[in-house]
Subunit: 250 residues, 2 copies
DNA sequence: TTGCTTATGAACGATTATGATTGATTGTGG
DNA sequence: CCACAATCAATCATAATCGTTCATAAGCAA
């Protein structure tokens, strides 16, 4: 039985019965326990299911909200991949800043059981972080209705209360010459301040942001490590001279 | 049977019958008493049910639901009446502080078209305020998971950025001698600070809070005008000596 | 063929869920 | 009030499941 066939079979069975047991899959597919286990791990990484002790269940069954599996997010798969890699950079006990945004949002499921302190300026992120049982501080300040991000002088001064080990920023464009940019100057200011309070800064972006230039400049390339899902050879060459680039291949 | 399956089964049964006995669960699931007991402990911990001697029951309506029309809030009618009156005290252009809580939450629908600036420390309130198109500031700080209220030193210092015309506080008890009280000292500190930054302070409470004393004192009675839905003659007499009381009759 | 990557299965110690046992606690019926 | 039965929390040993590692097998390009 081919790997893809097995994956499809597992998902179909899961859809029918809501839950599957590993032993049950071993018997019906004829594959070894190790293989089934690997399948489940893979499928969990792409958020197709959620593992539990002894088997797997449909995701979002117990706690999660729809927003996390919201398929309307562009480049969701890529963002999840980026987020998973980013999460691997976090140490136990770190204090981290999570920028408001859809990419940083995907980091949250990977933060479980990590003993962290998280600070964010994103309203949507607070709730999700809370469901994961993570100690969460919100910066507060003026709320931007459309995006649920907190911005402005109060947000900035609230940030001064904290220091971060790591800071994860979502960005709208990166360019060798113009650096990291985003449409809203208010948000740019928040990102700037958060970064300046962190030991390390990571900019998360999918490939569609390459060589894009938005209105407000956040910082030069060398002030943050860039994490992207994919990038052309030439573009990469131009970037490598300026900063560290981590490409998270599929 | 998978752990999650058992949990789901228990909750489904509980939803149907309102109560479940441990012995009944042992027989129908085939699991041992120890396991069922552990299940109930887990589910109680995540507030899905409430344990009683010999089994479990549906949890009381302790949780604050974000929905305005949610009838599960105790004394909803009364709270709405209180909220409506409270809203009549607001002037065009006022800056107001809205405490986290179910009573203050009911104020929000009455704030439409009032040209206000609202500051709150309640997560659930921000979203509702935003839907009404009201300029909203959140204090930020550490989030209290169960209630969605922000508390702690960061919240307090964030408050210092603002000045209010009016401050609306939810309280858990009022008493002629012991003043206004609430269970959580952290929340009490926030209410205290908010009040001290306001020209006028109003304490909102339904009749069940009369002569109740909670753990943490917020302030003496005379520091705020009390708004209640109904109150006994004798109690009112005792209060009138200390502060202004507004009774919002049906 | 060789060299390389990928998928698989088996084996290991570590982790987690479970079931039985104990003695303490609580409710019930005299 | 007491005695008895049911229920409880805590503990322990066992069984199931877990992630990891390693060796083998299969696919594929040079």
């Amino acid at each position: 039985m081919l790997t893809n066939e097995r994956h499809a079979y597992i998902l179909r069975l899961l859809d029918e019965k809501q839950t599957v047991k590993i032993q049950e899959l071993v018997e019906t597919t004829g594959a070894s326990e190790s293989t089934i286990r690997r399948d489940l791990t893979d499928l969990e990484h792409s958020r197709k299911l959620e593992r539990v002790f002894g088997g797997a269940i449909l995701p979002g069954q117990n706690l999660m909200e729809p927003s996390i599996s919201d398929k309307s997010t562009q480049f969701l798969e890529e963002k999840i991949r980026i987020a998973e890699f980013a999460s691997s950079l976090i140490q136990q006990g770190d204090s981290i800043f999570l920028d408001a945004g859809t990419t940083t949002f995907q980091l949250i499921p990977f933060l479980k059981d990590k003993d962290l302190v998280v600070v964010t300026n994103g309203l949507t992120l607070v709730e999700a972080l809370n469901e994961q049982g993570i100690t969460t501080y919100l910066t507060g300040g003026l709320m931007k209705p459309r995006t649920g991000a907190f911005v402005g002088s109060h947000t900035i001064s609230a940030l001064r209360n904290y220091r971060f080990d790591i800071c994860f920023l979502g960005i709208n464009g990166f360019h060798p010459e113009y650096g990291y940019t985003t449409p809203d100057p208010e948000e740019a200011a928040v990102k700037q301040m958060a970064s300046s309070l962190s030991r390390k800064t990571f900019a998360l972006a999918d490939h569609s942001k390459a060589n894009k230039i938005s209105f407000a400049k956040i910082m030069d390339l060398d002030r943050a490590t860039l994490i992207v899902d994919e990038i052309s050879k030439e573009a990469n060459a131009g970037l490598q001279k300026k900063t560290i680039v981590k490409v998270v291949a599929p």
